[in-house]
Amino acid sequence: MPDTAIELRGLTRRFGERTALKDVSLRLERGKTLAVLGRNGAGKSTLLRILSTLLRPHEGDITVLGESLPRRAFAVRSRVGLLGHEPLLYRDLTGRENLSYHARLYGAPTARVDQLLATVQMGARADDPVRTLSRGMVQRVAVCRAVLHEPELLLLDEPRANLDPGATELVEQLIGRGNGRTRVLTSHDPEAAIEEADLVLGLRDGRGLFVGTPAEAGGRLQELYR
């Protein structure tokens, strides 16, 4: 199915004795947004790390952007952007140096670095070491890093963490719904996540409690967070 961005069938991932994800299945169309909801430790971040190729699944079939994982991980990497809990930035390099480093790794034009920094209004602090920036500023640079190579699929783990309303509006241009990218996002604010989702996956203890439309998910939130 060419319009399928992500297809999971029986995805299972363990960490030693603990099962982080168990038999998770879903299908997400290109250009759509999947919200992954669940309590702490439900397996949301593990799912994002598997989709980003950082983790290998133990069981199940995974297809991302038409490529089978983990076999075709190399082909997927340039097409996926991950914004995780960690900003993945070197503290002793400046924001501009960090982004230039990533641009070179991805073969992206370095002109895009300045363009992105301007978009998130970080131009004035772009040459300061990351360790001197506030958490919100670091998150803005991290958003730039995640979209630097113009990925088709964005994996967003709590993307608005540490951002004030003004900064949230700025990064919206890059990771928001309007840019046409396929998105998978997690959030501890389920109502807000449901609002911008086309499909919702509810995870509890690593199991898919439900996969459904935002309307269906809205009625099962209490069950999910009970």
């Binding site: 990497r77 930035l89 002793d92 070179r104 991805y106």
Partner: protein, 223 residues
């Protein structure tokens, strides 16, 4: 190669900005020479003893540097960032080994003259070219093994122990060859050229472990 150069450039920028690794290695070497000076109770050393003191000191200083190689990657998410990128993972091996090689070369710019001043009996100048050849081959082997063992250690809880415990036994052949190659150079009446046999052993060691590292490094970076 583009990715390796990118990572190397980043590592050198970080070191120039923080000065966390090379100064520590240099200070360690100078302190060790002073300790040998008093421990051996000799004002000068020469020949095989001098080669042993120099080689062992540089080797332990190299372990300090190797232990710091992946700290930023581990603590600041550099590993994940690199693994997400569409690049050959051996680029990390090449970059880290090159960085450690450069750190060792800079260390030796300080440590070898200091050794000549503090401990070495015979003058260093006539044998300098020979010694540079020996140390360059030794540094190459140490850089590869140091990178390899640091990459092994990175995924373990006792990473500070694993590096030296795994690395030192692997480095024994390089240590022997370096000391044997440098020994004749540091004698009072040396010809100035190192023994070819031990240079060949060092070169062979570098080739073998370079190929082994290239073959297994991708596997080591996997979760």
């Amino acid at each position: 190669m583009r990715a390796a150069l990118t990572v190397l450039r980043k590592d050198l920028t970080l070191e120039l900005r923080t000065f966390e690794t090379v100064p520590a290695m240099a200070l360690f070497s100078l302190t060790t020479f002073v300790i040998f000076h008093f421990g051996l109770d000799r004002s000068t050393v020469s020949g095989q003893l001098a080669a042993g003191v120099l080689t062992v000191t540089l080797l332990f200083a190299a372990l300090l540097g190797a232990g710091r190689l992946f700290v930023a990657e581990r603590e600041q998410g550099g590993f994940d960032a690199f693994l997400l990128a569409p690049v050959d993972r051996n680029a990390m091996l090449i970059a880290k080994a090159a960085a450690l090689f450069i750190f060792l070369a800079v260390l030796e710019l300080v440590a070898v003259p200091a050794f000549a001043l503090l401990l070495l009996g015979p003058p260093l100048w006539p044998r300098l070219l020979g010694l540079i050849a020996v140390l360059a081959l030794a540094d190459l082997g140490i850089a590869v093994i140091g990178t390899l063992t640091s990459a092994i250690a990175i995924h373990t809880r006792a990473r500070d122990l694993i590096g030296p415990i795994v690395g030192l036994p692997l480095l024994i052949p390089a240590l022997i060859a370096t000391a044997r190659a440098a020994g004749p150079l540091l004698q009072a009446h040396s010809s100035g050229s190192p023994p070819g046999k031990w240079l060949a052993v060092l070169a062979l060691y570098d080739c073998v472990f370079g190929l082994v590292a290239y073959a297994v490094f991708d596997f080591l970076l996997q979760e």
